[in-house]
Amino acid sequence: MGAVFVYTILICMLKGISAFALTFAILLGVYKIAKIPLKVLWKNLKVIIPIVTITAIINVFLIPGDVIFEIWFLKITKEGLVSVLLMFCRVSCLVSGTALLTFTTSPASLVDALEYFMRPVKMFGGSPNEIAMTLSIALRFIPTLFTEIGKIIATQKSRGAPFNSPKFKERLKAYIPVIVPLFYIAFKRAEDLAYAMESRCYVGGDKRTRFRVLSFGAFDFVALMLMLTYAIVAFWVDRWRICR
């Protein structure tokens, strides 16, 4: 998690194509080592394409500089093109890099790490353990609620709800009878879970012990060193604008 924090700051600082090329090469290597198919990465990147495209279209026409193409009042500048290219690289690197964390780390470990980093909250009377527990349960119930949505949609479809109507307004209206039972189910599940947790002696607070204690091992040290090496090299490559 710490490495992702450093990585995010670094990616936001990089300004050269060469540094992004280096980052992409390293990311591909890490994906290979982690045995994550590139198809999965592509699936993640596809989600951001519409947002990046809209931003790119706006940027490419708005950034002033050396005009290289002009139609009526629309001017495409060299600076605009470079800016769009850099933005595309930056967003792609951010998505691919941070996705690695969720691909390789279980939600429970993520929450444990979050709890560790939230220790200062104690100084203000907060309980990192309770915040982490809330997050952990929220993460745990996301797939469950998606399954419930699927079931409710199937039920409403069988009763003739127009989810496939050509009219957008009708399709939108069809989702109202999905939201109401979904809320009911979510609250019912929350109540059941609260009873189950209470009957298993849960009272919250920081006196709980841990079944799985995070410890900084040799692998973590090697990973941190590799991350720092990459950060220094990428920063150096970017600073000297190699192959820009």
């Binding site: 952990s136 745990r140 009873y195 709980r208 012990t209």
Partner: protein, 279 residues
Amino acid sequence: MIELKDVCFSYETVTENVKLILNNINLKIDCGEFVTIIGANGSGKSTLAKHLNGLLVPTSGDVLVFGANTKCEENSIFVKKNVGMVFQNPDNQFVFTVVEEDVAFALENIGVPQQEMRARVKETLSQLNILEYKDASTAELSGGQKQLVAIAGVLVINPRFIVLDESTAMLDPQSRKDVMNILKKLNSELGITIVLITHFMEEAALAGRIIVINEGKVELDDNPRRIFEKLELLENMGLSAPQITEFCDELNLLGENLPLGIVDEDECAAELTKILKDP
């Protein structure tokens, strides 16, 4: 021992029409018993179950767990350590997604050291024959396995009582049988008191004692044989008897003279053999 003295319970409402969910319940459940609670939907079975481990406290009257009143906040952990509770849908009970982590949840809550926790989780999973799933995701398990994991989650703190609120309702017949076998084993070998709420009369008949709840009151409290003798009364309360009991009753209506309240196939077979040999 769990003792319920004049227990009444109603939910707070804004209107003046207060409906008693539990109406003057007096019960004693001793250590080592295997008790089933039956009753029609809305009769108050689940509300009663939630009183047994202090999840709900009576509006009037007292619930005492080994003498500790569930109304006292300081008894809360003691009560929950002694009376574990398993619910109908295991998916709604899991806090974590990995089997051993979820089973350890109760131990984490009572502050058991990590080494001891690992040993106790392993021991509990072995007792229920599900050790091989310790690293599995709870989502990958079958309904029966999930329910066993849920039972492991309460068994791990060594409770003296386990209350199961329709915990076999969502299972297929084989998984139900597996869960029932485990419950019988826990009762006979470890001496854990089992309180099982069920709609399956065959399951109810396996217990040593059946408590029939009707409209928030204890209507009957006896052994299975004596309970299932009263077929008409059960029918009036929206309940039925095990198939074997109803089969014997049908034969009696046709003129045979079988004993009332037979709940065991072997006994039924023996009685029928007697009739066939000596018509």
